[in-house]
């Protein structure tokens, strides 16, 4: 089972520029979470802070009792072995072939013999669909392939916490859909805690158990996916609809005058029905069910009273639908066909 990641009062600034402040959230163990936010709101900085690459000025990130912000360097290095981080452009070692890149963590941290390493690496290469490219150098393949190779490298040690930095950027919609499925399958297979940073709405709508969003140096919200998807927060609705009207401007914030003008413009008042929540992706047929689903159900139903009414209704709705269909905790043979 994955590991819970507890973030408490994290505040980060570069010089005088404040990136975000007082971020507090908990990534529930084994569940998939997505962090949304317009470009330049410090999503990547947040990921790097979780793993201790960047040191926020205040706050703590607790993983297994180790503080990744202010803890001892030795403990942080040890804890990092639990992580798999997929960088935005793969961050592969330019002087090594894909095979050696993916084998790197195994050769560094395990005493496995070469045939064993080869088996594991080829399995991961097949998982991300790169068979045949293992002998190539990172400079010789496309950006999308580099990304997938980066994912394979992140997965090779069977991490307990998987962080993905914009897994979709540079991928076509079809590959993005495959990748979404891959991430869910992965969660079913290894039950790792996962955090995906993205601004891709398809991934956001179908993959996560929990969602959060950054805007204006703050964490707008973080909670079960229904909370964000039914939110009437202007920032959230604007972002999820991909509209121009709303608080998000081209340069992160819009000025107040423009915003006021938009509000009175009748053209901007589109009829908006109740938000439609797309069902979450299921693991591919043949895989075990996600262990996180049952845990999440219990957790979410337990906190139901503290949620806004719209979210409460949506959650009841989701679980009612789930109950009508065969329960997710039982394998459903052949349901994908």
């Amino acid at each position: 089972m994955g590991i819970e990641v507890v973030v408490e009062g994290l505040t980060m600034s570069f010089g005088k520029q404040n990136i975000w402040q007082d971020v507090t959230l908990t990534l529930p163990a084994g569940e998939v979470s997505v962090m949304l936010g317009p470009s330049g709101t410090g999503k990547t900085v947040f990921l790097k802070s979780l793993i201790g690459l960047l040191k926020p000025q205040q706050g703590r990130v607790l993983i297994n009792g180790v503080d990744m912000v202010g803890g001892a360097e030795r403990d942080i290095y040890e804890t990092r072995k639990l992580f798999g981080l997929m960088f935005q452009d793969g961050a592969l070692f330019g002087s090594m072939t894909l095979f050696d890149n993916i084998a790197f963590p195994l050769r560094e941290h395990t005493r496995k013999r070469e045939p064993e390493i080869r088996r594991i690496v080829m399995e991961r290469i097949e998982l991300v669909g790169l068979l045949g490219a293992e002998g190539k150098l990172p400079g010789e393949i496309s950006g999308g392939m580099r990304k997938r190779a980066g994912l394979a490298r992140a997965l090779v040690l069977d991490p307990q916490i998987v962080l993905c930095d914009e897994p979709d950027s540079g991928l076509d919609p079809v590959r993005t859909a495959y990748l979404s499925q891959l991430l869910i399958d992965l969660n079913a297979r290894i039950d790792a805690t996962m955090l995906i940073v993205t601004h891709n709405l398809d991934i956001a709508a179908t993959v996560p158990d929990n969602m959060g969003m950054f805007f204006r140096r703050n964490l707008v919200t973080f909670g079960p996916r229904e909370v964000l998807l039914t939110s009437d927060e202007p920032v959230v609705t604007q972002f999820l609809a991909g509209r121009r009207e709303g608080p998000i401007g081209m340069s992160e914030e819009k000025d107040a005058a423009l915003l006021a003008a938009e509000l009175v413009d009748p053209a901007n008042h589109r009829p908006s029905g109740p938000p439609v929540i797309v069902p979450q992706l299921e693991p591919s047929p043949g895989l075990p069910p996600r262990a996180a689903v049952a845990r999440r159900r219990e957790r979410v139903l337990g906190m139901l009273d503290s949620l806004p009414p719209a979210a409460r209704a949506a959650i009841r709705d989701t679980y009612a639908r789930g109950a009508a269909a065969p329960t997710p905790s039982v394998p459903r043979p052949g349901s994908g066909s």
């Binding site: 990092r80 981080l85 960088f87 935005q88 961050a91 790197f104 560094e108 490298r153």
Partner: protein, 254 residues
């Protein structure tokens, strides 16, 4: 401004301390060390030899001309050899190591940094200092010591050749003044200087390479800075070491 400079200096020393500690951490990256050693050696040997011949010659000619005017031709050999071994040789070695080897190390680490390779390494729980910087610093130190020997020999031979052939000095006087003035500690300090200079060149190159400021242009700037900073440090440290040496080691011809 001042705090910025102090901060950079502090980080440089911190890196030096970290490298010194990581040298003893297992597993030692032997393969990386050999590769870097070979690389640094291959880019510095030929230029070092080519620079040291004329340098030895210039010193021999200058000293020869001066001693001639003073009527002390018989000491030409000793004086020029001491100048070559103690001063010229370690400096030539250090300048070449910094200019040819250090700049390449800095550019290599810098481009890895901006491609996030080093971050990826840290994320996988592997320390870039132990894995990449330590072998490089050890390589520059080892090459510096060995190269210093070669430059001393070539420079001395060059000085000998020019003094005998061009200035009509006598081989006997050259060699006898050599053993009258020079002593073994001169060679020791020369090698010690080379070792320290190699360390400085490696550390500065690694420090600049690990902290490039923003993008490919930043890497170019970092390489530039690493060479300039190394040169300044070298001349300063050389002055200090020479001063200490002259104080504590009694001169032979007394």
């Amino acid at each position: 401004m001042i705090t910025g400079a102090l901060r950079q200096t502090g980080r440089l020393f911190a890196l030096a301390a970290e490298v010194s500690r990581a040298v003893f951490r297992r597993p030692f990256q032997f393969r990386e060390f050999i590769e870097q050693f070979w690389f640094v050696a291959s880019v510095t040997i030929l230029p070092a030899a080519l620079v040291s011949i004329p340098f030895g010659a210039v010193i021999a000619l200058q000293v020869g001309s001066l001693t001639q005017q003073l009527g002390a031709q018989s000491f030409t050999g000793g004086a020029s050899v001491l100048a070559v071994i103690q001063q010229a040789s370690p400096l030539i070695v250090a300048l070449l190591i910094a200019g040819a080897g250090g700049s390449a190390i800095c550019a290599d680490l810098g481009s890895r940094k901006i491609r996030e390779e080093l971050d990826a390494m840290e994320v996988m729980g592997v320390s870039p200092v132990q894995r990449l910087v330590v072998p490089r610093v050890l390589a520059t130190m080892a090459v510096a010591v060995l190269l210093n020997g070669m430059v001393s020999v070539v420079g001395t031979l060059g000085g000998y050749f020019f003094n005998i052939v061009l200035q009509g000095g006598t081989p006997g006087a050259y060699l006898s003044s050599f053993s009258a003035l020079a002593q073994l500690p001169d060679l020791y300090i020369s090698e010690l200087k080379a070792l320290i200079f190699g360390f400085i060149a490696g550390i500065v190159a690694a420090h600049r390479g690990l902290n490039p400021r923003g993008g490919p242009k930043g890497v170019g700037d970092a390489v530039n800075q690493s060479v300039v900073i190394t040169f300044m440090l070298l001349f300063f440290v050389n002055m200090v070491l020479t001063g200490i040496y002259l104080q504590i080691v009694p001169p032979k011809g007394g």
